[in-house]
C-alpha cells in the first residue's frame, strides 16, 4: 500500500441537510482571501493556499502549499443559490436543492 497523501488535500465532508447538501472543508490557517470557490458545468471547485509562517521550524508536522479539490454536483443542485462561509478554519459551502427537486405532497382533487 502506498503512503497516503494525508495532509496535502484538505479533509472534506459532504453532508445532507434539510435544504440540500453542505460541503465542509478544513482549511486551518488560510485567510478568507486565499480561498476561491467557483462552479462550472456542475462541478464545484475549491482552490486555495495555506501559507507557511516565517521562522525556522524546530518541529514540523503542518503542511503548506496550494490545493485544489473539485466536486461533481447533483443535477438537483440549485447552482444560483450556492453560498459559502469561512470561520474557525472551516469553510462551509451550502448547496441548496432546486425547489422542483424537493419532495411535495400532491393533493387529490
Amino acid at each position: 500500500m502506498t503512503a497516503y497523501c494525508k495532509t496535502c488535500l484538505p479533509p472534506a465532508e459532504i453532508k445532507q441537510t434539510d435544504n440540500g447538501f453542505n460541503i465542509i472543508m478544513e482549511l486551518p490557517g488560510s485567510s478568507h482571501d486565499d480561498i476561491k470557490i467557483w462552479q462550472e458545468k456542475g462541478i464545484l471547485t475549491i482552490t486555495g493556499e495555506k501559507k507557511a509562517p516565517s521562522g525556522e521550524r524546530v518541529f514540523s508536522e503542518r503542511v503548506f502549499g496550494k490545493f485544489t479539490r473539485s466536486f461533481r454536483l447533483s443535477e438537483d443542485a440549485d447552482l444560483d443559490r450556492i453560498e459559502a462561509n469561512y470561520s474557525d478554519g472551516v469553510i462551509i459551502v451550502e448547496i441548496p436543492e432546486k425547489e422542483s427537486a424537493k419532495p411535495r405532497n400532491i393533493t387529490i382533487k
Binding site: 479533509p11 453532508k15 509562517p53 525556522e56
Partner: protein, 145 residues
C-alpha cells in the same frame, strides 16, 4: 489516494460496518492522525526564536472554549475536543474525511519558559501558543573586558 470515512445510515450497518472497521484498522497503520481509541492528533509546528517559542496547532472547527493549555515541569499540554454535530437521521447520508473527538498533545520544552507570560490565540482554526523564554536562559553576548 486519500482516506475517507463513510458514515452509513443505521439500517445499512452490518457488512459495511465490518468494511469500515477494516478500513479503520488499515488507516490506523498508515495514518497517525487518528488513534484506535477514536482520538485524533492535530498537526503541530514549533518555531524557536531568540526570545520565544511559538507553537501552532491546526484545530479547525474546534471551539476555543473546548481547548485547555497548561504547562507543568516544562511539559506543555494541549487538550480539547472537536465536537461533531450529531444529526443521526436515517436518510442523512454523508461522507467524511474529518476527524472528531478528543485530542491531547504534550511537548517537553527544551528551553525554560516563563510560564507567567504564555499567551494563546486562536485564529482561523489555528491555535498559536507563544512561550516567551525566561530572561536567564536567553543567550546574550558577553563582552571581553
Amino acid at each position: 489516494m486519500f482516506s475517507t470515512i463513510t458514515h452509513e445510515p443505521k439500517h445499512n450497518r452490518g457488512v459495511l460496518n465490518l468494511r469500515n472497521e477494516m478500513d479503520r484498522m488499515f488507516r490506523s497503520f498508515y495514518d497517525d492522525h487518528e488513534t484506535p481509541n477514536g482520538h485524533w492528533t492535530p498537526s503541530v509546528d514549533i518555531v524557536d526564536e531568540k526570545d520565544k517559542l511559538t507553537l501552532t496547532a491546526e484545530i479547525p472547527g474546534v471551539d476555543k472554549n473546548d481547548v485547555k493549555i497548561n504547562l507543568q515541569n516544562n511539559i506543555l499540554n494541549i487538550e480539547g475536543e472537536k465536537k461533531q454535530e450529531l444529526e443521526e437521521k436515517d436518510d442523512n447520508y454523508y461522507r467524511s474525511e474529518r476527524y472528531y473527538g478528543k485530542f491531547c498533545r504534550s511537548f517537553t520544552l527544551s528551553s525554560e519558559v516563563d510560564s507567567e507570560k504564555i499567551q494563546a490565540d486562536f485564529d482561523n482554526g489555528v491555535l498559536v501558543v507563544t512561550l516567551p523564554k525566561s530572561e536567564k536562559v536567553q543567550s546574550r553576548q558577553i563582552e571581553i573586558k
